[in-house]
Structures are given as structure tokens and as C-alpha cells.
């Protein structure tokens, strides 16, 4: 017999913790980066086809939206790298105490913003 009883609320009621937030963001940025890589490959491929293509993409990327996309991707890659390091350390069996997971989660979140700013500054040749 099929159980037609209601399902108790889950996502709707469960409070977010730093570690669950970092974990889901890790997934989302992973998917974004995957798509971004495809576009970067297409971009590189188009270089082979001539200069006109290059300048049209350059035009797109230097627009406001393009700059926003570049900055977002920089953050998304930064986040992915730091979060991946966190997961690697956890895979070695370290950093599972609740306090440590909170600190490492916060480090990933703020570190990714910090890294984005650093990369932005390097890219702008401001050093």
C-alpha cells in the first residue's frame, strides 16, 4: 500500500548553518564554473577564426554586464578553490570539530571575497 501521509517540512523549516551554506554554494559555483569553462573554450576557439570575432567578444566583455560577469566568475572560481581546499583537508580527516568547521567556513566565504579583490587589483595593474 502506498503511504499517502504528508511529508514533514524540510528545507522550508531547517535553519541554514555556515557549513551547509558553504556546501551548497560549492555545488552552485561548481556548476557555474563548468558552464564558464565551456564559454572560455568557445572564446579560445573563436580566436582561431579571426580577429573580428575577438573584437566582438572584447566589446561584450568590456560592457557593464561583461564586467559584472567577469567579476562574478572571479568570485565563483575563488570560492570554488578555497572551498575545495577545505574539503580536501576534511577528506584527510581534519577539521570536523564544530568550532573549526564554522571558522573554516567563514574563512572560505570572506577569503573568496578577498581573493576576488586581489585578483581584480592584479588584473587592473594597480600594484
Amino acid at each position: 500500500m502506498e503511504n499517502n501521509n504528508p511529508l514533514s517540512p524540510h528545507l522550508q523549516v531547517y535553519r541554514w548553518h555556515i557549513s551547509s551554506l558553504v556546501s551548497i554554494s560549492h555545488r552552485i559555483t561548481g556548476i557555474i564554473n563548468f558552464v564558464a569553462f565551456i564559454f572560455i573554450c568557445i572564446w579560445v576557439f573563436m580566436l582561431l577564426l579571426g580577429e573580428a570575432n575577438y573584437s566582438s567578444i572584447e566589446f561584450l566583455l568590456s560592457s557593464m554586464i561583461g564586467k559584472f560577469i567577469i567579476l562574478s566568475l572571479t568570485w565563483s572560481f575563488s570560492f570554488q578553490i578555497l572551498s575545495e581546499i577545505r574539503h580536501l583537508i576534511m577528506d584527510m580527516g581534519y577539521g570536523f570539530e564544530l568550532r573549526t568547521t564554522r571558522i573554516s567556513g567563514l574563512l572560505v566565504i570572506f577569503g573568496s571575497i578577498f581573493l576576488t579583490i586581489i585578483i581584480f587589483i592584479i588584473g587592473k595593474n594597480l600594484f
Binding site: 501521509n5 504528508p6 511529508l7 514533514s8 524540510h10 523549516v13 557549513s19 555545488r27 576534511m90 564544530l98
Partner: protein, 259 residues
């Protein structure tokens, strides 16, 4: 595909409001998930005004007060009231825990009480844990020592005994498993933190002779590796145990070919 929303028959409606009749100045609003299997209606959230001045300190005391003095139809599991039996596990203020060990004074504003997440509800705050118990059975949580005679004592050194600390204390309240999003989406195949912690407990037991078989059994894409170290389990455990670390240790044993 993962269903993020609740199915149509599980959507929670607004329920009744029970006004305070004691005239107390210190009132806490308690929102409780209700579902009556005989009504054929959707679940609802009833709100009770509870006189906190005349209520002991724990969330379970609040529920007892509601059941005794306001609404006797409220159903929930409880037994020992001292955090040993694990019966009163529920979702309190967005986090799983034992009602009998959670002080209501620590929760600001309204007190929201739901059953353990993503379970089939039997009634009110009672979730159906049959699936979890079947999975627990599947890891064969008993000592397997075939070579020695059953009448001989099996010695265990202090160091080997210490390996069980942090694993044997589990009371199987299911707070961790039902806090895990991976278990929500794959609860039929993924064993979940509670059962994996117990699997770990038997894998590291020096007296057990089936370590390899146990490891082999649990080494499965779905049974074990659906753990993505979200760590909701560890932060939910009312006994302060660390199922996430136990799962990581199992993964490590498998990865280092220490099988």
C-alpha cells in the same frame, strides 16, 4: 530529480489559535505542526499561548503543559525526559534536537516545533522512522566473532576500547539523519549519518572479525559517498557526537586501502 517543495498534500496550512486563559504576563507563542490522519486534511500549524512563568525549563515541558492543560489531542513521542532514550527528537526552531534537553529560554520569539524533517508523518510530531531502522538492521549492528568459542572472553585493550568513544554513545534519535539534505533526497539508498556512525562503531571494534566484510558492504556510491560533508549532522547531534567525522574516517579507510 530532487523535489525542493513539499508535495500538495503536505503543504502546511494555518491552524487554530489557543488564547491564554491563565492571565499570565509572561506568554510565549508556541507554533506546533499538527496533522490528524483521520481528518483527510492538510497539515496545519496551531499556535498556543503558553504561560512560561508556570512551566519548567525544557521544550518538552512546554509540550507536556500544552497536552495537559490546553489541548489533549497533541501527539508526540517521549519517554525518559533526560536525553537518554531519544524519543522526543524533533525540529525545534529550525534545528533538530531533543525536546527534553533543549531549554526554551534559549529561543527568542516564537517557539516553532515541527516533526523531524522529510519523514512521512504518522500524526502531529511523530515521524515514520521505519526506513531508518531497516537501514540500521542492514549494517548488522552486532558483534561478529566466529573463530572464538562463545564462552571465551574476548580481551580488548584500553586503546582499542577508546576507539569506540564518540560512537557507542549514540542513542539513535535520528536527529542527525533527518537534518541531512543528502538523506532527504536519497534517504532510500543513502544510509545517513546515524547508521553510518553505527557502521563505523562496528568497523573499528577490535573484537569484531568481519571488519573487511563490513567495509566492503558499506563502500557504495549511494550508501556511503552521498555524504558531501554538509555537517548538519554534527551540528544537530544532541549528544555532541560527530557522525561527519566517522563517515570521513570510513572514507579514509577505504581510500588508503587499509581494508
Amino acid at each position: 530529480m530532487v523535489q525542493l517543495n513539499l508535495p500538495e498534500n503536505s503543504k502546511v496550512k494555518k491552524g487554530k489559535y489557543f488564547k491564554d486563559k491563565t492571565g499570565s504576563k509572561n506568554i510565549k507563542n508556541v507554533n506546533v505542526y499538527r496533522w490528524d490522519p483521520s481528518s483527510g486534511e492538510n497539515p496545519r500549524v496551531d499556535t498556543y499561548e503558553v504561560d512560561i512563568d508556570n512551566c519548567p525549563s525544557k521544550v518538552l515541558d512546554v509540550l507536556n503543559k500544552i497536552k495537559n492543560e490546553i489541548d489533549p489531542t497533541l501527539a508526540y513521542r517521549r519517554s525518559c525526559a533526560h536525553g537518554v532514550c531519544g524519543s522526543c527528537a524533533m525540529n525545534i526552531d529550525g534545528k533538530n534536537g531533543l525536546a527534553c534537553t533543549t531549554p526554551h529560554a534559549e529561543i527568542d520569539g516564537d517557539l516553532n516545533i515541527y516533526p523531524l524533517p522529510h519523514l512521512k508523518v504518522k500524526r502531529d510530531l511523530i515521524g515514520d522512522l521505519d526506513g531508518l531502522y531497516k537501514q540500521y538492521e542492514s549494517i548488522e549492528p552486532w558483534l561478529k566473532a566466529t573463530s572464538k568459542s562463545e564462552t571465551t572472553e574476548i580481551y580488548q585493550s584500553k586503546d582499542d576500547r577508546a576507539k569506540l568513544d564518540g560512537a557507542y554513545e549514540c542513542i539513535m534519535c535520528a536527529c542527525c539523519s533527518t537534518s541531512c539534505p543528502s538523506y532527504w533526497w536519497n534517504g532510500d539508498k543513502y544510509l545517513g549519518p546515524a547508521v553510518l556512525l553505527q557502521a563505523y562503531r562496528w568497523i573499528v571494534d577490535s573484537r569484531d572479525e568481519e571488519r573487511k566484510a563490513r567495509l566492503k558492504k558499506v563502500a557504495d556510491e549511494l550508501k556511503l559517498y552521498r555524504c558531501h560533508t554538509i555537517l548538519n549532522c554534527t551540528s544537530a547531534c544532541p549528544k555532541g557526537l560527530n557522525p561527519a567525522k566517522a563517515i570521513a574516517e570510513i572514507k579514509k579507510m577505504l581510500a588508503t586501502a587499509n581494508v
